[in-house]
């Protein structure tokens, strides 16, 4: 027996050793034979178990017919329009059976989205998707008419990603609305939408949006193949899809950028990225995701280049504060206080007099308190969330210092680290910082400053080994795309200079804007003529 069999790399049969769902295969489903009663009895036995399944009988040109639909997902007004059209139309006396479906779609039904379907399994799926199915006795095809009507909220300001300037519009749970918002913002026919269905029970629609003449086709194809390969019973949102299609399933770093802001998506799709929208989830995915994406927002473009650059540096600085400050406190306090300025060391030592715990326990206590407060503030209603913040910040912090559980300098350290994490524009990346912070605290408690350095090397190694849909995760900071790293990475130069797209995404078209030359330099306003007074 080959004990290293599991290490064998190379081709892997995608379906041979997979678990298979116990749902009937659509290939085994029967087709419509033309016998209306037989078709209806099949639908009764399958879809008809639901109480919201409706079969409405009628006559069409002397033939028995039926409208089949789910009451809860279809628009009643559309159904009434269909019925009225079918029942009030003057049909020709003789109409060949094989031309009847075409006649109905051309001359009778006023709806725009009409599809002919023969497979009964497909028919069931369309019915659950909000289509009205018209079955006529003697016809071997069914006519489906789109009548989906599910209430959804209107586009509103983003709940989590606030900005001070620029568009304030976020996606909603409805896929069509989201695609419509994108179309309105990117008014170009090169914006391509590819829709797929994922989940053999949930049948969730997933849409890929990209500029077909800009995005790298390999990224698009890779995303399509990976989404098609997702075989799950239900897809509950973009996060579950993201975790299945990214390159590494074990990393803590987000390999795609998730956002609900429309302007972010418009910018990134314009850069050559691919947007993935999942029906029922307002959070969109942008692929490929690189680490620099999590330090940028669309808001950067709304500000002066100096301000935008400084804000980016502030985010980078905040990242290091959030990830390393509590661990450095532990390392300096418990291992190498001589590396601190003596006055600071003495202040810390005085503040820790009487604290019964080692520094690491002290830090972990306060970190846990902060996490509890954060989770509580997230789940509670807004008004109570503010109360929790005040209670946590003032009462718990002050009381724990007074009780001698923690030192007052630690409160400053933990508060600063917690606030720094919230500077990050990405919620996913904030979670990563928190995890790194806890790991840093643990290694600093064991090995001091030396452990922090070791873990930093390990994290860097891990980052350098990651890829997102073929793009290095550490790009453009890896050194191969210096232009991207400088012009629109660590800095954000004035927009007229950003005339090319980011090269690390390898877009098909790298020219973003033609060279900008100011057509009117030093505008000369008309001077008042001398010697002539204005007439009053």
């Amino acid at each position: 027996m080959d004990v290293f069999h599991f290490r064998r790399s190379g081709y892997r049969n995608q379906t041979a050793d997979r678990l298979k769902p116990k749902t009937p295969d659509y290939r085994d489903a029967p087709h419509i034979t033309g016998d209306l009663q037989k078709t209806l009895s099949y639908l009764k036995d399958t879809a008809g178990r639901s109480s919201d399944f409706v079969m409405r009988y009628t006559d069409i040109a002397g033939r028995d017919a039926a409208l089949v639909y789910y009451l809860t997902v279809t628009d009643q007004h559309t159904i009434e329009i269909i019925l009225r059209a079918l029942q009030t139309h003057r049909y020709p006396r003789r109409m060949p059976r094989h031309r009847m479906a075409e006649y109905l779609s051309r001359h009778v039904l006023p709806n725009s989205n009409i599809v002919f379907v023969t497979n009964l399994w497909e028919l069931r799926e369309l019915a659950t998707g909000g289509q009205v199915i018209l079955l006529v006795d003697g016809l071997t095809v069914a006519i489906t008419v789109g009548a989906l009507s599910v209430p959804h909220r209107t586009p509103d300001t983003p709940l989590l990603e606030a900005s001070t300037r620029g568009p304030q519009l976020a996606f909603v749970e409805n896929l069509e609305v989201n695609i419509g918002l994108m179309r309105r913002s990117l008014n170009s026919d090169s914006l391509t939408v590819r829709q797929l269905v994922v989940g053999y029970r949930s049948r969730t629609r997933v849409a890929l949006l990209y500029l077909h003449d800009v995005a790298n086709p390999n990224v698009v194809e890779t995303a399509l193949k990976r989404i098609e390969a997702v075989h799950v019973d239900k897809l509950t949102g973009s996060a579950t899809l993201e975790q299945r299609i990214v390159d590494s399933h074990w990393t803590i770093f987000p390999l795609s950028r998730s956002t609900a802001r429309l302007d972010n998506c418009v910018k990134e799709v314009g850069q050559g990225k691919v947007l993935i929208l999942v029906d029922g989830d307002p959070t969109a995915l942008l692929i490929p995701g690189t680490i620099i994406d999590f330090f940028q927002t669309m808001e950067d473009d709304q500000h002066n280049y100096v301000e935008a650059t400084l804000i980016r540096w502030l985010r980078i600085f905040s990242f290091f504060l959030g990830a390393y400050l509590p661990a450095l406190y532990v390392a300096f306090t418990d291992f190498t206080p001589s590396l601190m300025p003596q006055i600071l060391a003495l202040q810390i030592a005085r503040s820790r007099e009487g604290v019964p715990f080692p520094a690491v326990v002290e830090v972990l206590i306060m970190q846990t308190v902060i996490e509890i407060l954060r989770e509580a503030a997230l789940r509670l209603p807004k008004v109570m969330g503010q109360t929790i913040g005040i209670v946590g910040g003032l009462v718990l912090g002050e009381a724990s210092v007074q009780a001698g559980l923690v030192s007052n300098i630690l409160i400053v350290v933990i508060a600063l680290a917690a606030l720094s994490i919230f500077v990050m524009p990405s919620i996913d990346f904030s979670a990563v910082i928190r995890i790194i912070s806890v790991c840093n605290i643990l290694v600093s408690a064991l090995f001091g400053l030396y452990g922090i350095v070791l873990l930093a090397v390990l994290v860097l190694y891990h980052l350098a080994s990651l890829k997102s849909f073929g793009v290095e995760y550490i790009a453009p900071l890896g050194g191969q795309n210096v232009r991207d790293a400088v012009l629109d990475g660590l800095l954000r130069v004035p927009l007229p200079l950003l005339d090319r797209r980011a090269s690390h995404l390898q877009p098909q078209e790298d020219t973003r804007s033609a060279d900008y030359t100011n057509p009117v330099q030093h505008t000369m306003l008309e001077k008042p003529r001398r010697g002539k007074r204005r007439k009053r």
Binding site: T333, A345, R350
Partner: protein, 403 residues
């Protein structure tokens, strides 16, 4: 390569990878610095140290360590010898402990026996030597301090004429005496020129160099307000220059200024220079100097070229208009002469004492490395008879006056 051998190769690679990872992790975890847990609150931080000769045992030294008191109510403790406890009235409480021993290490060990926390001298900020230490005691103390890895070699060092322990026990207004000394030589006073500052490693380096006499700033504790007894301040009274670990010469404050001018260390300070008409005051004084030594027949000539630049702050002839450049040139010439005389006087004092605090011998050694024996054993005599060629060029910047 067959499939079987490829699997064998990959399995060997996997084993290699795990072995390399294990050895690397094991090695990294054994590196010094790892597992060095010692909480900050278990350390007794030494702020400053004073080294004196032991009063009753001529072969021993008296080590005084100033500790920061972390808790509000400092408990008493005593050294093996006379204990001197003190606490400042300000925000930095401290405690001095004293022990007599043959070495600093032994003294610190004795102090440790009287403490409930481990002594931490990695952040000692100043070390004060008594000028009454014998050459052997000073040399052994200096070597011991520089050899110990747990001593901050960037600590400021100074000398006191009498008891160094007394200086660290001075009741100052709002800070520990060790802090006051460190601040004095640290960033508190930006102007260089009033005094010389030395760090431990610099004093050790100067002591080991050929053709250079090591020097230390001399500290005294004076009353802040002469009419009252308290509080007192730590003041720098001058510079003491060592020869063979024994104090051979002292420079007062004005001579220390000349020492700094000759060394080119004066920056951003005011200076009054007497000229024929009175006193000219210069501000923003900056000095650049170039020193070298050359052989001059059977003697040695030490050469100093000094450029001093300052902004006119007060004219001696304030009643005259400043539109004529002739008086300014004249003033510059008179300032040149005055400074040359003053510098020469300072150099003559050092020559008479046979000490070379500027390191002219070092410059000579650079030019004549074959005469290292001469510099090593006879430089004091050579320096004593050296001719001095000092040239000062003063440039006074006068920006005119408001009419």
């Amino acid at each position: 390569m067959t499939g079987r051998s490829r699997f064998a190769f990959s399995s060997w690679q996997a084993v290699q990878r795990w072995v390399v990872t294990g050895v690397s992790v094991g090695t990294l975890l054994a590196v010094p610095g790892c597992w060095d847990y010692q909480s900050i609150n278990t350390r007794a931080t030494v702020l400053g140290m004073a080294i004196d000769p032991a009063p009753n045992h001529p072969d021993q030294i008296q080590v005084t360590a100033q500790f920061a008191v972390l808790h509000a109510d400092p408990s008493g403790g005593g050294g093996s010898g006379a204990m001197m406890g003190s606490q400042a009235s300000g925000s930095v409480p401290f405690e001095n402990l004293t022990a007599e021993a043959h070495s600093i290490t032994e003294g610190m060990r004795r102090l440790q026996l009287n403490l409930s926390r481990s002594v931490d001298s990695t952040q000692v900020r100043c070390v004060v030597f008594s000028e009454r230490l014998s050459p052997l005691q000073l040399q052994s103390a200096l070597q011991e301090l520089t050899r110990q890895t747990q001593i901050n070699r960037a600590a400021y060092v100074a000398a006191v004429p009498d008891s160094a322990a007394d200086l660290l026990a001075q009741p100052l207004s709002d800070e520990a005496p060790a802090d006051a000394v460190a601040k004095k030589f640290g960033v508190a006073v930006k102007q260089y020129g009033y005094y010389v500052r030395r760090q431990l490693w610099e004093f050790w380096r100067d002591s080991a160099q050929l053709g250079l006499s090591p020097s230390l700033p001399e500290l005294t504790a004076t009353d802040a307000v002469p009419s009252e007894g308290k509080p007192r301040v730590v003041d720098v009274s001058g510079l003491c220059i060592y020869k063979g670990a024994r104090v051979a010469a002292r420079l007062n404050r004005s001579d220390t200024l000349m020492f700094n001018i000759l060394s080119g260390r004066v920056r951003d300070m005011g200076l009054d220079i007497p000229v024929q008409e009175g006193l000219v005051s210069l501000g923003d004084v900056r000095v650049k100097s170039r020193l070298w030594t050359m052989a001059d027949g059977h003697r040695v000539r030490i050469v100093a070229r000094i450029r001093l630049q300052g902004t006119m702050a007060r004219r001696p002839d304030a009643d005259q208009m400043a539109d004529d450049p002739a008086p300014l040139t004249k003033m510059e010439e008179q300032a040149n002469q005055y400074l040359e005389q003053a510098l020469l006087s300072t150099v003559r004092k050092m020559q008479q004492a046979g000490v070379d605090p500027w390191g002219f011998g070092r410059f000579y050694l650079h030019a004549h490395p074959e005469q290292s024996e001469l510099v090593k054993y006879h430089w004091a005599d050579v320096f004593r008879t050296a001719t001095c060629d000092t040239h000062v060029r003063v440039r006074i910047i006068s920006r005119g006056e408001l009419v």
